[in-house]
Amino acid sequence: MTVLVGPNTKVVVQGITGREGSFHTQRMLEYGTKVVAGVTPGKGGTTVHGVPVYDTVEEAVRRHGANASVIFVPARFAANAVLEAVDAGVELVVVITEHIPVHETLRAVNYARSRGVTVIGPNCPGLVAPPVRTKLGIMPNNIYQTPGKIAVVSRSGTLTYEISYQLVRTGFGINIAIGVGGDPVVGLDLAEAALRVAQDPDVEGIVVIGEVGGDAEERLAKMYAEGAINKPMAAYVAGRTAPPGKRMGHAGAIVMLGSGDAKSKIEAFRAVGIPVADTPFEVPQLMARQLKR
């Protein structure tokens, strides 16, 4: 059991017949995820890697009790895919798709929240929980073979894998790794994700991977200072050398109207006692030190 997924998590893959959807369905199955159904409108009745495909999420939910969804559909249809999943009654929606117009994300994510549905992403690697061998996303399976007590919450993809790898290499195990997504508006932001994993009694330490843009890191620091998050933490913030007004790969990684630079975030963390690593490779040491205290 982890805060977001558990042994009863049954996954439907939206956009399962696409290249990415099909590829990662296989990886998720290999990892141990219970992928019970796929959806591609017009492709109902076929199968992908043995997983039955339906025309609507509602049917996938009705027939297989799917309670979580992973979305791989193209950007133009992805916001609707989220709404469809919410209306079909799943509890967790992971949106891998990049390049969804932010106004569409805004509406889809707000609707999901108003219905009590957790959305991870968009433009994210998803989440992986080694203790329950469940992955809803695209993280490399080989890095997440060691279950443990560390939760990683991150705005990044590959940097999450990198730091997870460093953690595992130095003897840590992972409880859950969540990539919240690189878009300006995401379903569960970095601060909320940290708050969520902190509530898991199995989590002993939280690694936070931030980056330029927005104020989620600052809000997280505030929550920590106020005691809402009371687990040992270590942080890394990417983009110290990012120039203002430029998008650094992620739509959300931009310093704008004078806010969102790495300096502000690093200072906010340090001011409340969350150590910040200067390089990704220092993170395990910081975490180890935090846990010893």
Binding site: H99, H103, T158, A216, A238, T241, G249, H250
Partner: protein, 382 residues
């Protein structure tokens, strides 16, 4: 996509907002002609999509068409914060009674639209936020509800207008127009700074900024076209990389950076900087790293004149080091070799094979990004 002031103003006008008469020009002759047409004093405004053009000499008042012509000859070609002035917006000079600030953004934390309004304007919002934060009013608009009378009322009151006056109605319609532009054009920012009350008592947007979500540009083909014709702050390399499907940002150092994933690429830049080097760019090839992708990315940097050293940092779960090596090999072959230094750090499978392949090209393969970064910095200094 950042709209030029004149494009933003045209949008405002399309949504019923009164703007000072004006047109955009690309030659001093045109500037003179427009100034003649408008009559009286005019303002020449350099069309570059950066803040603070005024201080940099990008805004000038001309009393006569001749003076406008003279000023234009100097303004065209001027470099403002790295951007060359190719267009000048010529507008009627308007006498101003007071300047206000009004903008609309998406607030990440509340996931709502957010108006920022201040009865003080003409300076950056960052400036107002520092010196007089109590003057900034925040009005949140939930997207599922949309802009309603009470939002508008709250903003217009804050800006200092009395209910049911002509200025109240003018300002209300500007608020409504800004909201409609925000939604209809998938904007990330709609700003008027200053929003001004003229001596005649009109409320008009003296300046206007609109930034459109790149991910939604496909819905607005006319903007796509305008961007293609005038790439604004996008450099040649950024444009080229974008076409191939990479994220690319120009920086001013000499160590070219290639990474997979935005966060990893940023951290690679930071690492280079950490060890005393200066990144030349940000080039994110995305999550995976196939031979072709590495090849194309490397080619971009091989052609870059400022780049002395190229540092490729790939972290891949299932990516094969020999694939990456093959990509490097192919790029060099296609470009006919290079005198730039290349450093590769790679975490994936088949590392030994990759190392051997790269060794033949005289390129070191590192498993540690820190070592690789140090090496890159060292090579750049040599």
């Amino acid at each position: 996509m950042k709209l030029h002031e004149y494009e933003a103003k045209e949008l405002f006008s399309k949504y019923g907002v009164k703007i000072p008469p004006g047109r955009v020009a690309t030659t001093p002759e045109e500037v003179r002609k427009i100034a003649e047409e408008i009559g009286g004093p005019v303002v020449l405004k350099a069309q570059v999509v950066v803040a603070g053009r005024g201080k940099a000499g990008g805004i000038k008042v001309a009393k006569t068409p001749e003076e406008a012509y003279e000023l234009a000859t100097k303004m065209f070609g001027m470099n403002i914060k790295g951007l060359v002035v190719k267009k000048i917006y010529v507008t009627k000079y308007v006498e101003v009674d007071r300047e206000m600030y009004l903008s609309l953004i998406i607030d990440r934390a509340t996931r709502r639209y957010l108006f920022l309004a201040s009865p003080i304007g003409g300076v950056d919002i960052e400036e107002i936020a520092k010196t007089q934060p109590e003057k900034i009013k925040r009005v949140y608009v939930d997207p599922s509800v949309g802009l309603r009378d009470y939002h508008v009322r709250s903003i217009v009151l804050w800006l200092g207008f009395k209910p049911e006056t002509a200025q109240w109605r003018q300002t209300s319609s500007i608020v409504q127009a800004m909201y409609n532009i925000m939604v209809d054009y998938d904007a990330e920012l709609v700003e008027s700074n200053p929003l001004a009350v003229t001596k005649e008592g009109d409320v008009i947007p003296l300046d206007a900024r609109v930034i459109v979500d790149d991910n939604a540009l496909y819905k607005h083909p006319e903007l796509e076209k305008a961007l293609e014709e005038d790439p604004r702050d996008v450099t040649e390399f950024e444009m080229y990389a974008k076409k191939i499907g990479f994220h690319y940002v120009e920086l001013d150092g000499d160590i070219g950076i290639i990474g997979n994933g935005a966060g990893l690429t940023m951290s690679t830049m930071d690492l280079v900087y950490h060890f005393g080097g200066r990144p030349a760019n940000f080039l994110d090839i995305g999550g995976g790293a196939s031979r072709d992708v590495v090849k194309e990315a490397l080619k971009v940097l091989l052609r870059h004149p400022r780049v002395k050293v190229i540092f490729i940092n790939i972290f891949g779960g299932i990516t094969r080091a020999d694939e990456v090596a093959a990509g490097v090999e192919a790029a060099l072959a296609e470009e006919g070799g290079t005198n730039k230094k290349i450093v590769v750090r790679m975490k994936g499978t088949n590392e030994e094979l990759g190392r051997q392949m790269l060794a033949k090209l005289g390129i070191p393969l590192y498993e540690s990004a820190e070592e690789a970064a140090q090496k890159a910095v060292e090579l750049a200094r040599a």
